[in-house]
């Protein structure tokens, strides 16, 4: 029963039943597209609201301040792994990257460890995770989280090995931080936090989702399979590269691209190509680079985006090979 509810088979069958009743043949192109649109829209909105609530509630137990305290005590390679894992669960929005960066450095957390956090945190996005889970299932969603952590650990470790501390703006080292008070939230405050996150995330991305699902529905019915698999299929090595580059200016629209990816993958586009595209939309965002410019010099921004970009492309190729 539980499996029936969570596989959304009821929704699939219900949508087909209603469409058939009103005279739409879901076996045809047109009917198939309409079915895709209605089914995906309802399923993703339900999943997104529920899961973002649960994930945010869990996240309310973590805070940037607490993460900093934990990382201050760790050293070596372990610290990179911890920073990446904490990057997943610590709630913080990209406009906080600057105070977060300064706070970490001021607390004596090594630059490379700070970057392990900064790389994984945006790559593993909770909304993207939920949508992946809804569309492709737990295996792909799990690969997504795992590769985000691996990228953060390796990327941060390379930055550590390159000893790039001199490319941090001088004033960062001079800032003295006030004492951090870690306040414990009450249960009501945690629920409030989770609710406001659902409102914020769903409110922000539903339009892009609808557009994405709409385009996905069109592709589902009409896109030319042979051409797509020829140019964007797993065998074309350039596809991943282009997908990553195209993604950079698309920042907040990332979630809308997942339903498009679903339809494209059904038409022969590589899974890794789609994954690279999605990771790049959130991790290689222009707004974040502009924010980070306040605290680090262009050379370090270049190294950071270079390592992240190459990493994402590598993940794309790997996924195209194994999935």
């Amino acid at each position: 029963m539980i499996k029936y509810i969570f596989s959304f088979a009821w929704l699939n069958q219900g949508t087909t039943w209603i469409l058939n009743r009103v005279g739409v043949d879901t076996g045809e192109r047109f009917g198939g597209s309409i079915h895709f649109f209605i089914y995906d829209t309802i399923k993703i909105l339900i999943l997104l609201s529920m899961m973002v609530f649960i994930i945010s509630y869990m996240r309310s137990y973590f805070s940037v301040e607490r993460t900093k305290k934990i990382l201050e005590k760790l050293g070596g390679f372990k610290a990179h792994v911890a920073a990446s894992l904490l990057g997943i669960v610590t709630p913080f929005c990209s406009c906080s990257s600057v105070p977060l960066f300064i706070g970490f450095i001021e607390g004596g957390i090594p630059l490379g460890v700070t970057f392990s956090f900064l790389i994984t945190s945006p790559i593993v996005n909770e909304a993207a995770f939920v949508i992946l889970l809804g569309i492709f299932g737990p295996k792909i969603a799990g690969y997504y989280v795992f590769s985000g952590v691996v990228l953060g650990v390796i990327g941060g470790y390379i930055i550590h090995l390159l000893k790039l501390e001199r490319y941090v703006e001088d004033y960062v080292y001079k800032i003295k931080m006030g004492d951090t008070i870690i306040k414990t939230l009450s249960k009501r405050e945690r629920i409030e936090f989770a609710k406001s996150n659902v409102k914020d995330i769903v409110g922000r991305i539903w339009k892009y989702l609808l557009i994405g699902i709409g385009i996905g529905a069109l592709i589902h019915g009409w896109a030319p399979e042979e051409i797509l698999s020829k140019y964007a299929g797993p065998e074309n090595p350039l596809a991943v590269l282009f997908a990553t580059i195209i993604a950079i200016p698309l920042y907040s629209n990332a979630m809308g691209t997942i339903p498009i990816a679903e339809a494209l993958i059904n038409k022969g586009v590589g899974m890794g190509t789609a994954m690279a595209f999605m990771m790049a939309t959130t991790a290689l965002s222009l707004p974040e680079m502009i924010l980070l410019r306040k605290v680090i010099k262009p050379k370090l921004i270049t190294v950071f985006t270079g390592i992240t970009g190459v990493g994402i492309i590598a993940v794309g190729y790997l996924f195209n090979m194994i999935i």
Partner: protein, 76 residues
């Protein structure tokens, strides 16, 4: 009473500021409300995630937009 909204200038920071103004008028209270966008001043409060709310020098909320009712409780 002195209220400071700390934030680097994102939408959430503006939302928090608006909620503070609404909470004050709803509670019928008067206060000095200031928006702090300077990063050095923000850091001096020990805050790493914006937006944050400071009332009479004490950090009461960090990293989220406090709701109007919640702010009323703080300023009572």
């Amino acid at each position: 009473m002195e209220i400071k909204v700390l934030g680097t200038g994102c939408k959430k920071c503006d939302d928090l500021y608006d909620n503070v103004i609404k909470a004050l008028s709803k509670a019928g209270k008067d206060a000095d409300v200031e928006k702090v966008e300077d990063i050095v001043s923000i850091m001096s409060f020990g805050v790493m995630s914006s937006p944050a709310l400071v009332i009479d020098g004490e950090v009461v909320v960090t990293g989220r937009v406090a709701q109007i009712e919640e702010i009323i409780n703080f300023i009572k």
